[in-house]
Amino acid sequence: MPETQVTTALVNDVPVEVGPKENVIQVARRAGVEVPHYCWHEDLSVVASCRMCLVEVGETKPDGSVVMGPKLVPGCQTPVKPGMVIKTDSQKVKTSQAMTLELLLLNHPLDCSICDQAGECYLQDYTFKYGKAQSRLDEPKVQREDKYHIGDQIALFTDRCVMCTRCVRFTREISGTAELQVVARGSVEEIDVFPDEPCNNKLAGNVVDLCPVGALCSKDFLYKKRVWWLKSQKSVCPGCSTGCSIEVDQNENQVYRLRPRSNPLAQGNFMCDDGRFGFKYVVDERRLKTPTLKNSVAANGAASRNGNGHANKDLADLVVADPWPEVMKQTRERIKAAVKANGSDFAAVLSPMMSVEEAYLLASFLKGLDSRVRLLLGPVPVAGANDCYPKGPKGEAPATDKTKFTIRNEKCPNRVGVEMVLKHFQGAVVPLEKAIEGSSTINAWYFVGGYPQGWVTEAIDRAVGTPNLLIVQDIFPSPLSMRADIVLASAAFTEREGSFVNHAGLAQSFKAATRPIGEARSDGRLLSELLERKGLYNAMVIRKEIGEEISAFKKFGGGDLGEYGISLMNRQEVGV
C-alpha cells in the first residue's frame, strides 16, 4: 500500500495545507492564526530583525512523536515543510512577544491621540493582543526630532519608528532609487535621507503604507481625518493603463486618500504617487456641476447661476427640482433627429476614460438607432515611455524580467476595454484623430470626455467646428463644452461604478465611493436614462448583458469580477 504523503503542517494543532515556498506567517495566516510581525513584507527581502514573529517549531517524527526545536525561530525566515509543527501561542512565544513589544515601546511616545496612524497601527493592535499594559521604563524616554524633510509628501516622526527598515528596503529593492537610509548604529540609529536628496520618487508614497507604525506619514493626509471615520471602497486607479487596484477612503462624501489594494493580477501591493495623489481633480472647483442646454425650447431668460463658465442658461433655475429629465429628453430627441437625418454623419467619440459598461451603453444605443453611426475612439493620452522600477544606480530602467512596478505611459484606464466594445459594434477601432484627418461630413457629434486634464486639441476643435448638433458629456469645461448644444455634467472615477480592462487584458470592477459633485451624474446613470432603461443603473447587471452579447466579454457573464478581476485574454491578444 502506498504511504500517504503528508502535505500539511500543524499550526497550534490545526492542520493546514502547505504551499511551496511559504513561511510560517503565511501558512499560519491561512489557518486563521495571526503571527505578529513588523519587518517582514512579502515584496521585500527578509531581514528577520524585528523579532516580533518568533514562534516555536518542531517536527513530527516517523513514529508520530513531536520534537520541538530548542530555539525560538522567526516565522518570516522559516520555510514551512509538510509535517512541521508550529506553536504560536506557547508560553515561551507569548513571553517573547510581550517583551519585544515592551522593548519597542520603551522610547515610543504616548502620542496616539495626535498620531495619524492611530486606529490602523500595529503597535496599538499588537500591544492590545500580545503586549503588557505598562512599561517598566523608569528613565526619561529618548526624544528625537521630527523630520519633515524626508520627502515632499512624507514626514518622519522619528521617535515613533520601530526600525523595521521596510521603507529603506522599499527604496532599494522596489523603487531602486535608494533615497532612504539608516544612519548611525544601535539604539541611536534613525531613518533619514541624504542631505538635500529627499525621497520624491514616483513610488515614494508607498513607504507610508509600508510603515507599520505612525513614523512615516503622508503630508497630504496629515491631521486631516481620524482613520476610523473613513469608509473604504474598492476601486481601480484610472491614472494609467496598469489599473492599480486601490481603496478609496472617504468620509462624508469627501475623498481623503487613496491606498493601493493588493492585487497580484494587476500591480501587486503598491501604487504610484501620480495615482495616489492624483485624485484631487475629483473635487476641482472647475468641474462641470450641472447639465446645460443651448437654444432650448425650454430655456427662457432666467439668470445663470452655474459655475461652469458657460454663457448658457442654467436649467437648474428653470426646473428647480431637477434639470435632468428635460435635459435627457432633449438629448434623446435631438440625437434621434440627427441620426434620422443621416446616420453616417453622426459620430460618437468614446473616451478611454469610460468604463466598459458606459461604452457599451452608448454604443448599443447609437448603433441601435442606425448602424451607420460612426463610433470613434477618443484621444488616448500618452506621456513619454513606460516608467519601470526598480531603477538602477544611475536611474536606468530595469531589465524586463527584473521589473517590479510599471507606471505606464498610457494615461487612461480603459483603452483596451473601450476598443473591445468598438470592435464588437463596428469591427474596427477608428481613432478620432484619424476620422478628422482631411474633410469630414460629420455634422452631429456626441463627445464623451472624463479626462482629468484638457483633451480638446486645436485640431479637434477646428475639425468639429460648428456642427448641427454638439453634445458633450464631460467633467471639465472645454472649448467644445463652451459651444455645445447640450452639456451633460458627468462623473469622475470615484463617483462611478463599472469596470476597466487594463493594458494586459485584466478586467477589474470598481464601485462608487462618493456621490457626483453638484448636480453632475454618473455616466452610467445618464446613459441608462438615455436608453430609457428601467431601474437604477447597476454595473453588474450591464456586465451580465455584455457577457451574453459580446463574445470577447464572455467572462463577464457572471457579472461579478471578483476581488482581483478577471483576465479576458492572453497577452498576445492584447498586443503587448
Partner: protein, 447 residues
C-alpha cells in the same frame, strides 16, 4: 606521542616572539617558514581538510567551531570563485592575542592562510583587520608584498599551478564586524548587520559566493599541523569527554590574554585547559597589590564571570560553560580584584554592548540600551531592588533564551548580566540598598 602538556610544553605560536626581525620573510624562512606550504602544495586539498579535521583544531575566535568541518561545508565542484575571509577584527574586551602575533610573526599567519585557501580552493582571501591595529596593517602589508615578490602569493604559487591573492581590508571601529556575517557585510561595503542564517557563509557568504571565515590565531595553527601532524596537535590540550558525544575536545596550544588586576598582564601560550588560577598565579604574577580576585572574566566580557571560588575552572572549550559562563570565548582572562564594585564592572560591560549593538534586532538594540540606563541610574544612587529583576528579564530576552536575535552579540551582552546577578547578587543588592553613588567619572560623549 607523549603529551606536550605541562612542563613539556614549548610555545608554538609564540616561539618566534621577540626574535630580531621576526616579521621578515627571511627571518621566518630561516626558522623553517613556508616548509609547511611547500608540503601542503604537494597534497590534495581534501587531504589537508582531513588532516585539519583529524587534528581537532577548533576556531580560536570565540565560537570554537571545528575548523576542518567548517572547510568541508563548502559545496563540491563549485563554479566560480570561493572566498576566504580572515577575521582580524579582534575587538572583544580583554583580547589582544591576534594583535601580538600579527605584529611579531605575520608570515606564520599568512602561511596558514595560503594553506587554508589551497585546501578550500579559495582564490581570493580578504584579511579583515580592525582599524585600530595600524601597526598590524603595515606589518601585514609588508609581509604580503614580500610574499608576492617571492612567488608565495599571486599566480602559480611556487610552481604548483595554484594562484591566490590576499587583500587587506581595514575596518572602521565596530565590534560587530567580528561576527562572521557582519564581517562579510562590512567587507561588501555595507553596515555590518549580521545576516540571517541559513544560508551559511559556506554556501552563500562574501559577495553571495561560498566563503570560509577563519580567525587569525586559527590560521596560525595550520602550518604547525601540516608540519607536525594531527597527533602532535592532539598531544596538547584536553581530550574529548568520553561521556559527552558532542564534545569535540580542546586540542592544541592556545594564546591566553591576561589583563586587569594582575601584576604582569600579557600574553601567554599554553595547552588548552589551563585553569584561571594557574594563569593568574603562575603566569601573571598574581593579583596586584596583594589583593584577592573577586571575579574573573574567562574569555572576553561576553562570556560572563567566574567567581572567586570557580578559579580552578579549566579554560578549555567546556570548562567555563560548566561554571555557568557562556564559554571559552577568546580566552581573554580579565581579573577583577576584591576592591572593585561589581556594579561598576557590570555597568562597563552593559555600556560596551549598548555602544556596539548593531541595532538590527529589537531585543538587543533596545535591551542593551535599557540595561545601561538602569545601571546608570543605580550608579547615580537611585536604584531599586526591582531593577535587578528587570535586568534579569532583559538578559533573558536579549540572549539567554535561544533564538531571540540574529547573532551572538546579544548572547554576549546577556551573559555578564546573568552571571553577575547569579553570582554577585548580594553585593549588587547591598549597593542598591546603601544608596551609594559611584565615584568613577561619567562621561557622555560622541558615538
Amino acid at each position: 606521542m607523549t603529551s606536550l602538556n605541562g612542563d613539556n610544553f614549548k610555545p608554538v605560536l609564540l616561539r618566534r616572539l621577540g626574535l630580531p626581525n621576526s616579521q621578515t620573510l627571511n627571518s621566518y624562512r630561516a626558522d623553517g617558514g613556508y616548509t609547511a606550504l611547500t608540503k601542503a602544495l604537494t597534497m590534495q586539498p581534501n587531504e589537508l581538510i582531513d588532516l585539519v579535521k583529524a587534528s581537532g583544531l577548533r576556531g580560536r575566535g570565540g565560537a570554537g567551531f571545528p575548523t576542518g568541518m567548517k572547510w568541508s561545508f563548502l559545496p563540491q565542484n563549485v563554479n566560480g570563485p570561493i572566498y576566504m575571509c580572515i577575521n582580524g577584527d579582534e575587538s572583544e574586551p580583554g583580547t589582544f592575542n591576534n594583535r601580538i602575533i600579527i605584529e611579531e610573526d605575520p608570515h606564520q599567519i599568512l602561511e596558514g592562510i595560503v594553506i587554508g585557501c589551497y585546501a578550500t580552493k579559495a582564490t581570493t582571501a580578504y584579511f579583515y583587520l580592525r582599524y585600530e591595529y595600524g601597526r598590524c596593517y603595515r606589518t601585514l602589508q609588508k609581509a604580503v608584498d614580500e610574499m608576492y615578490a617571492a612567488n608565495l602569493l599571486g599566480k602559480n604559487i611556487l610552481g604548483s599551478g595554484y594562484s591566490l591573492d590576499i587583500y587587506l581590508h581595514r575596518g572602521a571601529c565596530a565590534y560587530i564586524c567580528g561576527e562572521e556575517t557582519g564581517l562579510i557585510e562590512s567587507l561588501e561595503g555595507k553596515r555590518a548587520w549580521p545576516r540571517i542564517k541559513p544560508p551559511f557563509p559556506a554556501i552563500e557568504g562574501a559577495f553571495r559566493r561560498p566563503t570560509v571565515v577563519n580567525n587569525v590565531e586559527t590560521m596560525a595553527c595550520v602550518p604547525h599541523i601540516v608540519n607536525n601532524g594531527a597527533e602532535w596537535f592532539q598531544s596538547m590540550g584536553v581530550p574529548k569527554d568520553p561521556n559527552n558525544a558532542r564534545d569535540a575536545g580542546s586540542y592544541g596550544p592556545k594564546l591566553y590574554c591576561i589583563s586587569g588586576h594582575v601584576n604582569k598582564p600579557g600574553l601567554v601560550e599554553l595547552p588548552l585547559g589551563v585553569t584561571a588560577r594557574e594563569l593568574i598565579d603562575k603566569h601573571a604574577g598574581g593579583v596586584w597589590k596583594g589583593r584577592k580576585a573577586k571575579a574573573v572574566v574567562p574569555g572576553g566580557i561576553s562570556m560572563g564571570f567566574l567567581s572567586a571560588d570557580e578559579l580552578d575552572t579549566p579554560l578549555d572549550f567546556n570548562g567555563p560553560g560548566k561554571a555557568g559562563c557562556l564559554g571559552l570565548g577568546t580566552a581573554a582572562v580579565v581579573v577583577i580584584d576584591d576592591h572593585t564594585s561589581m556594579m561598576d564592572v557590570l555597568y562597563n560591560c552593559c555600556r560596551f554592548f549598548a555602544h556596539e549593538s548593531c541595532g538590527q534586532c529589537t531585543p538587543c538594540r533596545e535591551g542593551t540600551a535599557w540595561s545601561t540606563k538602569i545601571l546608570e541610574r543605580i550608579r547615580a544612587g537611585h536604584g531599586k531592588l526591582a531593577d535587578l529583576d528587570i535586568l534579569e528579564e532583559i538578559s533573558a530576552s536579549i540572549g539567554t533564551i535561544p533564538g531571540t536575535t540574529i547573532c551572538g552579540l546579544a548572547d554576549g551582552a546577556a551573559w555578564p548580566i546573568k552571571n553577575a546577578l547569579k553570582k554577585f547578587r548580594p553585593e549588587l543588592e547591598e549597593y542598591i540598598k546603601s544608596g551609594r553613588k559611584s565615584e568613577s567619572p561619567q562621561l557622555v560623549g560622541a558615538h
